[in-house]
């Protein structure tokens, strides 16, 4: 069977648990992408002075950089006639505080309850998924690129290059990853980009070792000898012949890596080194729940569940991918 993206997806879909994880991951992704209009107090549609508006467009990237509807800047939506409005599914923005609804238990009005400032927890969790998933994707993207490049160089050229790169890998492995990330993030200013960068700069060793091993294995196979005889350049050999053949284990490792990147980001936020407020992130929600544990169980339960669910989903997908891509391992 040819190993194409479509075939992999197809064989994942044929298995029960991987299918479930694909669906869940898709839902999580949709939630993160559509967060800005799923949970917001800005109406989707409004009629104001006999003109129709779509005020939500103001909240959606990249339209939020334009000055849409300047005449609506100072309107209090709550004061308008409810009939002339269509509000989003969860009609609260993550930062809308409501001092009359402090620490309310889950109810129809607030499905997951409210926090100590009366902010809707569901809305905060939905907006927090943006942070977690983007860290997962981008940090892993950074380290897969570094790992692919360095692993390919080490495996292809061997000799001195391999020796030096292997030492570099060994050195980076020796540092305790979480402490290193904590230090990088703690020393630099607090921003989402630096968190992604720190995870990316420390996580590439696993990928590099995998790719290096695959290259060593593939380098002397017949198809490579044939390709070399044709007089192809090193670049072409690496990128067109070796790399595509060694991507399978990288894909598995990257999926597990995404789960651990999400875990690292939420641990950092929990320790107070995450994205600066007011942007909500799951770890930070959990951390701020610690003060109200005996009064408000929902504050600690739901963000924790969100982290747990996304990590489980990614791990399940990783397991499924491994089964699909590596029939050798399935036997054991």
């Amino acid at each position: 069977m040819k190993l194409s993206f479509r075939n992999i997806l197809k064989s994942l879909w044929q298995r029960k648990l991987p299918r479930l994880s694909l669906i869940l991951l898709g839902l999580l992704g949709l939630m993160a992408i559509n967060a800005s209009w799923l949970a917001s107090s800005t109406p989707l549609y409004a009629v104001y002075q006999d003109k129709t508006y779509f005020p939500i467009l103001r909240e959606i990237w990249p339209l939020n950089h334009l000055d849409l509807y300047p005449e609506l800047q100072s309107i209090e939506w709550n004061n308008l006639d409810k009939k002339s409005l269509i509000l989003p599914l969860i009609p609260y923005s993550p930062d809308d505080y409501d001092l009359d609804a402090i620490l309310e238990a889950p109810s129809l009005k607030h499905p997951l309850g409210t926090d100590d400032q009366g902010r809707d927890l569901l809305s905060r969790i939905i907006h927090g998924s943006k942070i977690s998933l983007s860290v997962g994707f981008i940090a892993v993207g950074i380290y897969v690129s570094i790992g692919l490049l360095l692993g390919a160089l080490a495996g292809y050229f061997g000799g001195k290059t391999d020796f030096l790169l292997s030492r570099l890998i060994e050195i980076v492995i020796c540092f305790p990853t979480f402490f290193l990330i904590l230090t990088l993030v703690g020393v630099l200013e607090r921003s989402l980009f630096y968190i992604m960068l720190a995870i990316g700069l420390t996580g590439w060793t696993g990928i590099a070792r995998l790719v290096r091993g695959e290259f060593l294995k593939l380098k002397n196979q017949d198809f490579m000898t044939a390709a070399r005889t044709l007089g192809l350049s090193d670049t072409r050999l690496i990128f067109y012949h070796l790399l595509p053949n060694s991507l399978a284990p990288v894909l598995v490792s990257a999926t597990f890596g995404m789960a651990s990147a999400i875990l690292i980001e939420s641990s950092l936020s929990f320790l107070g080194f995450g994205v600066p407020p007011p942007t909500p992130s799951w770890g930070q929600l959990l951390s701020s729940a610690r003060g109200f544990m005996d009064m408000a169980w929902w504050l600690a339960l739901f963000p924790g569940l969100a982290i747990f669910l996304s990590i489980t989903t990614l791990n399940l997908l990783g397991e499924g991918l491994r089964d699909v891509l590596d029939p050798k391992l399935k036997r054991v």
């Binding site: 904590l182 703690g186 747990f308």
Partner: protein, 371 residues
């Protein structure tokens, strides 16, 4: 075999050198001058009030500035003259400045390395105590915590995995696999927080203390009660630390035992008439202990890293909390010391596990090439 060990041992100092180099220069590149920040905080934000003399002295005290040797000063003057044709002290040309900075970095690094060799990590920027003293207090606590955790992880997950391998596909195998999978995905800081709320002095079940390592006034108790008190404090943190590793190790032991169950010598033992469990425990299991023990080298660093969060939540004064607090206070000497020391420990444990593996299993020498 001999060449393999020799090769590994010769590479060791190279890697160690790389570790110190990276630690030093990453900290050098960090923005902000910690001494200036400290002094400004002490003197009430008057940056002008930092008199040149005192500032220089403090910088030198923390190894952020060193006196360049005379010969290097001469070298700077000489190369500046050659490149620019003159050497004026008043308005230093670019070359002079660059060479000065390079010299500073190099000689600071050398001074720091000399200190490292004598276990002198400088003094903390936070409370001005020697860093080595702080580490000496914190390290044993973390080691005890990790050794207990490691012991429990091995004690529980190896028999569990071996039993799963024996009854492969059975009810036990499937339920533990699913359970372990979920345990593996539970974030430890979440579990730690929940444990604290529900099982430590609170409104629910106040079975365990809220944190720390000893109760108030425990010093006057007889030793066995002190020990009991200490262990009582360790229950929750140890639970929070071990459950994630259960999944990893029990799966590993399952697959290792499964593999050795298929080996020829196990089949021979079965053919001799040994029953399945005797063949498992006496033959297959012993054989699979080798990779299980050597994997400890890779498990230890993970546990050490995980203790940052656990120690912070349970208020345990070990290396993890020291690390966290020094990052919080931008205490560069302590951060550098912890990074170097833990990288060194990891390097040693990786080396030991590689060597013991090669010693136990002579086939390893075939892998020399893929060093």
């Amino acid at each position: 075999m001999g060449t393999y060990i020799l090769k590994r041992l010769m590479i060791f100092p190279v890697t160690l050198f790389g570790i110190t180099l990276i630690t030093f220069f990453v900290m050098k590149l960090a923005p902000g001058n910690p001494v200036a920040t400290k002094m400004q905080a002490a003197q009430g934000l008057q940056s002008e009030a930092l008199s040149g003399e005192v500032y220089e002295q403090t910088l030198k005290l923390y190894g952020l500035k060193v006196d360049l040797p005379k010969s290097y000063e001469n070298f700077i003057a000489w190369s500046t003259k050659i490149i620019h044709g003159r050497d004026s002290k008043e308005s230093p040309p670019f070359t002079r400045k660059a060479l000065y900075e390079i010299g500073q970095a190099t000689f600071q690094y050398i001074t720091w390395l000399k200190g490292l060799a004598q276990l002198n990590f400088g003094s903390s920027l936070k409370d001005f105590r020697p860093v080595w003293d702080k580490i000496k207090e914190a390290l044993p606590i973390t080691l005890i915590l990790n050794l207990i955790s490691l012991f429990i992880v091995y004690f529980v997950s190896i028999p569990m995995g071996a039993y799963s391998a024996l009854k492969r596909g059975g009810l036990w195998d499937q339920t533990t696999m699913i359970l372990m999978f979920f345990l593996y995905s539970l974030p430890s800081f979440w579990i730690a927080t929940l444990l604290l709320v529900y099982f430590a002095e609170g409104d629910f079940l106040g079975w365990f203390p809220l944190g720390g390592l000893t109760s108030d006034g425990a010093e006057v108790l007889p030793w066995f009660q002190q020990l009991g008190d200490f262990l009582w404090h360790l229950v929750l943190p140890v639970i929070a630390m071990v459950y994630g590793s259960f999944a990893f190790l029990s799966r590993f032991s399952r697959s290792v035992v499964l593999e050795s169950l298929h080996e020829d010598f196990v089949r021979t033992a079965r053919a001799k008439g040994l029953n399945k469990s005797a063949a498992l425990w006496k033959h297959a299991f012993r054989h699979s202990l080798i990779p299980l023990i050597t994997i400890m080298g890779t498990l230890l660093p993970a546990l050490l890293g995980g203790s940052v969060i656990i120690e912070q939540i349970f208020n345990i004064p070990g290396m993890g909390r020291l690390a966290f607090e020094s990052v919080l206070a931008r205490d560069y000497p302590t951060i550098m010391a912890i990074a170097t020391l833990s990288a060194f420990l990891t390097l040693v444990s990786l080396l030991l596990s590689d060597l013991s593996y090669a010693w136990v299993d002579p086939r390893v020498k075939l892998e020399q090439k893929s060093l």
